[in-house]
Symmetry: C2
């Protein structure tokens, strides 16, 4: 193929404009690499006359993304509107119906409707590509779908929400509380309009569900992701974890577990000296584990104009080069429906308790933990001004449900104040 | 395509057997991912009756790899013999001449004959793929050729020889000398038959030249790589560098520099807290820097049966899936012949000198450095038993040729014993 490949871009926010810039600035390189001209035919966004800092005058303007999607003169419809329903979904469906290949950065939409859209696209022998939906500029979809395709995947682990990682690492470096750093992140524009998407782990959960589908050949099942946000993490947890050689990360883990698939996105402790433990600020990191390759780690900017646009471009370039793969690496109609399972793999846990400062209190707690088969690896009690002693416990590897039961029973000891915090220490 | 894809494997060493194992063990997964059966038709190696721990009885045996390459019943010729001439090259040429796609792990061959072989292959409209030639299991060729294809690459940096990294990190952890750890690595079977390939930086230099070609769209030019091995690194250097917050790595750097291409593989200092500084043992790490994506870091096992076979498989799977890209990401006949340039980008340097313990010695050195425009950032003099004082200097960013001139002139001061050591501190 040497004819130009023609694209329509719906959505001219940060990422859309980033894509326009790459196509304009790197025209010759792109042509050398694809053997074709990549031509923007038409664009669409809400406000036509907004100054976006790039020259859009040569492109047709569509006020409606669905009209853009239906244009006969485009080969690829690039959806950068966002949102898991409404215009994003409707325009993608229109593009599929009219025989376009699709490139999107929309993790929410794919997490909710990925299976449906993949089946629809593949039924038309077209492509639905989404490198930019996971981990920004890191080519992790490609690494998983293609680079490690010889492997039976054993585990996918990742820090995939830069805002949460920013908050957690800033708490550590500043010594300030969650609430204060949350406000700081908000002021810097790092948070989504609905911040729960970030700090509630939803956005990262979307990404995990997509990686799990590719890695394990299963239908995307975002609803089955066990979600826990970072709102409960206190500066004490951060500091105590650091004292014991750990960092707290909003960590996604997906793995096959017996006959089921375990997917969880929750704050976990990881060794401070591990690559994940060292991860600072808005950087993302994904660890892919395969039966033959072992552990591969990829890291890089998880968001932003250039990185995300770079990922969109890799999909556009693949299509221009004639690379044609199913959405999730194997045909959507053979992806397995798999039983979601709650994590039951053993791991050490970090427990933070506030104990009554009276004789026998610690003994009661230790005894209760013992009753649930939880054995203590390390314990620290900190100096305290009031009559509540902060006590930290690192357990030996324990079944998650034992921890749950112990947490439910701790109040009955009569010596534990506040709600105990329990965080998994993920083996890496 | 749903017909089986048929392969012939030449070379049944560690990697060849790893490939056989993956194809046997992951048959169903591979079929789901490619839509086809991947079928080994024939194999070739020196000794037919050696026990290799896998069942080869169903495959045709060829005692001559060239005969294997010429078989009419294979689609892909997988060259895992090794060596930059002889049977490896001859059999690849035979495979090209008879219209096969080629997958190889042979960095030496491609570093020396990549341009010639790529032109020959592409002239026949066939493929020459080599993911396994660089950084073992890390899908770095794919990340660079495809994942970051939207970017103008600005720099490629990497630790790509696991044996050297093992030696350097073991020296640090054990406090033992280069010579002792070299013997240890030899006993563990980590070194090539000709150890210069590893410790002289040649093997890593091959890999760098291949990455540079893809990244910058230039003809592979291994001869232009400035090579410096790790043999001169003493335990004192390791310790002193650590004292000042650095690690010593055999670091490859390729970047465009004015009108030329700079490629060097040499021991450098990197911050101890940086991802490259943290890299331990045989792990490889590559940092890819693009104009839009920023820095992407990939790490993983750089050698070994499973990881290298995983990389070979990714090429086989791509071909089975119908992915057809030029060898170096753009057609070989448009790759540019580019002027090699010696590094002239400024960087701070680490200098280790052995100074006469007499008044004015340090002043003479400082004055000489000043004469060459080299200004001192940090300096340490260590306690010493004899009359030679070890002195360490970290300079401010300096032009490499100033350092060269200073080194040439230091002996003239009459106060410097032994050969001074100068290592670049690579800005990351």
């Amino acid at each position: 193929m040497t004819n130009p490949i023609k694209i329509g871009i719906a959505g001219l926010g940060t990422v859309g404009i980033g894509v326009v810039k790459i196509i304009q600035q790197n025209e010759k390189i792109l042509q050398a690499r694809t053997g074709r001209k990549i031509e923007i035919v038409a664009v669409s966004a809400k406000a036509k006359n907004k100054n976006r800092g790039v020259d859009l005058s040569k492109y047709q303007w569509e006020s409606d993304p669905i009209s853009l999607a239906k244009r006969k003169d485009i080969d690829i419809f690039v959806e950068l509107i966002g949102g898991h329903k409404g215009a994003a979904k409707d325009s993608i469906v229109a593009a599929i119906d009219t025989g376009k290949d699709i490139v999107t950065a929309n993790k929410a939409l794919l997490a909710h409707s990925g299976q449906e859209l993949a089946e629809k696209t593949e039924g038309k022998n077209k492509l639905l590509r989404f490198e930019a939906a996971v981990a920004g500029g890191i080519p992790v979809i490609k690494a998983l779908t293609e680079g490690l395709a010889g492997n039976r995947l054993t585990r996918v682990v990742g820090v995939m929400n830069g805002t949460c990682n920013y908050i957690l690492t800033r708490m550590q470096s500043s010594g300030l509380n969650y609430e204060e750093i949350f406000k700081e992140a908000e002021a810097l524009g790092y948070l989504e309009a609905d911040p729960t998407l970030d700090v509630g782990g939803i956005d990262a959960g979307h990404k995990l569900a997509l990686l799990a589908s590719i890695g394990f050949g299963t239908k995307v099942n975002f609803d089955a992701v066990e979600l826990e946000g970072i709102g409960q993490i206190s500066i004490d947890d951060i500091n105590h974890a650091a004292d014991m050689g750990f960092r707290i990360k909003l960590l996604g883990v997906a793995q096959l577990n017996g006959d089921g698939l375990e997917q969880r996105m929750s704050p976990c402790l990881v060794p401070a000296t591990s690559p994940l433990g060292q991860l600072e600020g808005g950087t993302n990191m994904v660890m892919l584990e395969g039966d033959h390759v072992g552990q591969i780690i990829l890291s890089g900017p998880g968001a932003g104009e250039g990185p995300t646009a770079s990922a969109v471009m890799s999909d556009i370039i693949d299509i221009a080069r004639g690379v044609r793969l199913p959405t999730f690496g194997q045909p959507a109609n053979i992806l397995k429906e798999i039983q979601p399972v709650k994590s039951n793999t053993y791991a050490p846990y970090y427990l933070r308790l506030s104990l009554s400062d009276k004789p026998g209190a610690l003994a009661k707690v230790a005894s209760l933990l013992g009753d649930f088969g939880i054995s203590i690896d390390r314990m620290r009690q900190y100096a305290h001004a009031d009559d509540h002693a902060p006590v930290l416990i690192v357990t030996h590897a324990t079944e998650p449900k034992s921890i749950e039961k112990a947490l439910a029973n701790l109040p009955k000891t009569g010596v534990v104040h506040d709600k105990p915090v329990a965080l998994r220490i993920e083996p890496l």
